[in-house]
Amino acid sequence: MRRILIIDDEEDIREVAALSLEATAGWEIVTASNGADGILAAGNSKPVPDAILMDVMMPEMDGPTTFRLMQQNPELAGIPVLLLTAKVQGVDQRRFAGLGVSGVLFKPFNPLTLADQICEKLGWKD
């Protein structure tokens, strides 16, 4: 069974995304409400998550900064990270393209196809 870590400061979105992935794909979900907790959760999770779904706009530490910190940690650097963001403007998209994340998914997402979208971005054949 796949294990996904969701990092988002909005509790409602964490809840909906977790429910959607559990109900449609049967994945195991771990959540964190900010970047720092996200890094801790990723490190404490045994086994490490198969992928991280991360918001961009978060207080204190935003998604891109959290991603960069994870890349410096050899234990976490290999986990694929997908950004799940409401920043859909062209300028924002160009900024994300240079980060080195595995992909970008946009809010509002469709709860019935979110798991499919993740599989597609990561090349999973589940």
Partner: protein
Amino acid sequence: MSFSLTLFSGLFLTCICLLGVLALRLGRKVRQQERDLGGLSQTLERSREHAEEQKHRLAERSDLDRAKDEFISTVSHELRTPLTSIRGALGLLSSGLLGDVDARAHNLLRIASTNTERLIRLINDILDLERMESGRSPVNLRRCSLVDLSREAVEMMSALAEAAQIRMELNSYAAHDSIYFDADPDRILQVLTNLLSNAIKFSPEGSTVSLEIDANSDALSLKVIDRGRGIPVDKLESIFDRFQQVESTDSSKKGGTGLGLAICRSIIQQHGGLIWARPNQSWGQSDHNGAQTNPGTTFCVQFCRSARIGDTAFPREIVPLAERGEGLILVCDDDPGIRTVVREQLRRHGYDVIEVSSGEEVIALANEQTMRNAPSPAISAILLDQYLPGLNGWETLRQLKSSVTTAAIPVVILSVSSPSERPLLVGEAQGWVQKPYNESLLLAELGRVLKSNAGTVKDPQHNLRTSRLTV
């Protein structure tokens, strides 16, 4: 001795005087030059200041643009975030994945879901339009195939068409090598899917929506033809404005945002093209059972290969006539007052009239007529103003006459100058009316040109089209 002394002192005095005068003049000249230099440095100073000011203003403007971008990006983000939770929650509940929902509750969930989707579309459309109209959405030009883009659009819309029980067909009349053009493929696809989804939404069950494409060496055209209820003539223009729908209930019944056509127009204008709507040619025709069929609407898009990206073209007014006229006259004048007068005079005498305000539009329309399978009636003659912004009358005439496909359409120049001033051009234009003109002169000249052209037209296709003229 005393004489020579006097002479010497006289000479000496004269020399002193001359030197004095020279010195004075020199001094004046130096002062003049000093003044000039001073002026020059002042000018330099001023232009430096001017440059600084310009730089400052530009910086201020880009600051303003950045602030605006930032604001829009934030608003968009703040609207999307709560919508994400709503859409997610409703989607999961109505899917039944979390347990059965009774029929009445399911209906309510469906209503909430549909309207959430509508709100998301509306936000997307508003942001899209804002970006485009503020010029902050650059077109990424690439070599595209009109056929491939059309095929893709039809495919993308096939699920919607199937659900509405509408058949879709794609017809290409373009020569293989003429379908390539420079455009932003995502944007063109957006226009095509928008027009197709409109056509599907407003078509009766079981009918067909056609996408027709055509191209020649000068222009490309695409048409989306539906068999819907049709658009009233007085709304053919305004439907391209924001939130203008034919019926006020359309946005809730059909799920549109009221911005789709405004977005289409923005995109097409960014590509230097034209978009307009017109009733189908078979207006009021009856089917074989004698019942009146739906008139339907044709949305036409035209790209002129010579148009520069970013040129904006203004939609023109189309004046269809109930009665069969003696011919379709394309009237081109940048003065709307003159256009109105000419239109009224021509209509009174049974002509059909299309009005345009620029040479570019004349070329685009004339080209459309020459394409095979043009559903619109052929232009019988063009009434062309001499002084037009952009492509002027001379250049328009030259382009019309140099293209094999449009050379056969007779042109009457409407000009403030007399034909004797440009004798060379009389050979190219078939007629000439000097402004200010009187009605009978205009009609006489137009009649003469049409009559003489009818006898000399060599292009059989052109003749054929003229004979099946209906509007």
